[in-house]
Symmetry: C4
Subunit: 197 residues, 4 copies
């Protein structure tokens, strides 16, 4: 079995994430207001984009969090094999889908179906990140030192999946509250990490 260096899958991941998060901005269409309009009309045209802006910021931050977790896993991973490359490629396929999911969310903010799709996309990314990390640990592809740090990362990656699973399920039954689990899980994770030390 060829053991591959991890640098190129990191480079491809950085490239795909960078493009996906930069394409998010294409959902923000410059309003077609004429220059003779008043400042008030112009501001109103920008304020009409507030749903798109909120989706842009939130999706960017979530994608940033996924990239950071991915970065942390590769901090421990020594080298990769064929299975891990494919898990990463499918992970990137769902990351690439973010501009679509984000567009769906920002155009149809209050619609259950778009929330279902959006959180489904996020959940798929989170689950693949768990498969990627657990596989690397089981197959001993990671460095031996820093066992407790690796455990802490396992906890974080699992908690992320749990948070998006909660949002995904909430989107089906109570669409109005589908965003609520995210800050709740973030708070729980933060408290647990503080008390653990």
């Amino acid at each position: 079995m060829v053991t591959l260096s991890k640098s190129r899958i990191e480079a491809l991941s950085d490239g795909v994430v960078a493009i996906a998060i930069t394409l998010l901005v294409l959902e923000l269409k410059v309003p077609e207001v004429m220059s003779h309009h008043s400042d008030k009309e112009m501001l109103e045209a920008l304020l009409e984009l507030k749903g798109e802006f909120a989706t842009y910021i939130v999706t960017f931050l979530i994608a940033g969090a996924f990239w950071y977790l991915h970065h942390l896993t590769f901090h421990f991973i020594k080298h990769v094999d064929g299975f891990l490359v494919w898990v990463n490629l499918i992970f990137l396929m769902f990351v690439s889908l973010l501009p679509f999911s984000s567009g769906l969310m920002s155009h149809l903010f209050i619609h259950p179906v778009s929330q279902f799709f959006y959180f489904g996309n996020m959940l798929a990314i989170a689950l693949l990140l768990n498969v990627h990390w657990q596989y690397a640990r089981r197959k001993h592809l990671i460095v031996d030192t820093e066992q407790s740090e690796a455990d802490r990362l396992s906890f974080r990656v699992a908690l992320t999946a749990a948070a998006f699973a909660a949002s995904f399920i909430t989107a089906i039954f109570f669409p109005t509250y589908s965003w609520a689990p995210l800050p709740a899980f973030l708070l729980v994770g933060w408290i647990l990490e503080k008390t653990r030390r």
Copy 2:
């Protein structure tokens, strides 16, 4: 003759592949359904995109497979020369064309001409990958060790070209079955690799 390091052609390749596979998502247009529509209408609007989704997933996975094979060849390549740089640039030119070929395929799924163009694009990429790898082997630009691994890669790269040649030819005579050779060749390759060990 200057022998160039391989890192920048790898970086350019990772960049072009990352962008090409991320641009595939632009074919998925967010449906223009209003928020007052029912969940059922919304789901139907998304289901109408099923051709585009199938093309997105398949093209992403094929492009991922090409990137992986390209990665594997550079695992063995020590350094590059001018000819190899140009083969790689033309390889990337066809990779860049994927969002167009994919768009053609997803809009006109059942049309022979779009299948002909799509598989022609894939075949061109596969053939250039063979030229790239065989040239590197002949010119002794690769590391000496792991002869059997290099042979195995030659087999894989050749089989990929054969699979797309089969799809390309099938698209002319039996367009309905033009996708069939891909899983068939994948299965044959998998069995041959298993029995070889």
Copy 3:
């Protein structure tokens, strides 16, 4: 606490900056002049884009300057921690917004609101660059040598924020002159650096 290598946040930054500055060109729409039109009509169609061209060039150069300052800070930074990663991600979120701000500016060149938004975007980037650099210095994440060079960079980064703050405030009260502070601050910075040596 895990100390992370800086290479991947550099790679993500290079990717996001490269994409954001390349997407600026999408604001330049090819004029729909027919081929049978005279050379004069064609030239006029291109000249009508002069606002878009000016915005393209200026935004590209400003983004280039931000990238260069970011590059210089990482020349001194040894490794990163979680807080620094998040400051960088939010920095990149505002860099990603540049094609939108630039599009707003080029379509509505003389409008106060678009200038307010454009310089607000630039100011946010400049302030985050200051937070990033000052945090790295305070937390001793940078190399020990070259103290005077690090001081000089602190001065440059602060001056950049001051310049955009001046443009931002000018845009509210005297929108016609909102660009004026930039060359003025550039000149002041250049003179101060010359006299310091």
Copy 4:
């Protein structure tokens, strides 16, 4: 004076070139032919894009050649200074403009103004590459060995600028023949390199 490592300006360049050449494909619009159309109508719709395809291929290859020359210069360059970073940023600004110039060319293939703009863009890139390389040589930022190889690169970079200057001037007086100088200069360069050895 801080001497900077060359790796990040290489990374940004690879990113910008990768994106610019991949965005070229967006000029190729998928024809809006319905699936019930005949194969002949479909082929005709694709053939109508032949101008766009020719521009895509030629622009990709020219951009590839510029990237290759840029790569070769950095093969010799040890480290960079502030001036070199700015020359490279302006170089990248003109590379980013390629999708626009290419779009202008492909929509208005026979029009003198679009040829003038297209070759002007190419000439600007070629001249900046000369400034970049000559500055690096004069300031002794390059490795000492391989003097004859550095001379050969100076010749190549200068010849490229001469070729595009010839096309640019021809575009003004004899637009029909503006492409002719490129293969002519390529041939001359090839013969001169062969006879020199």
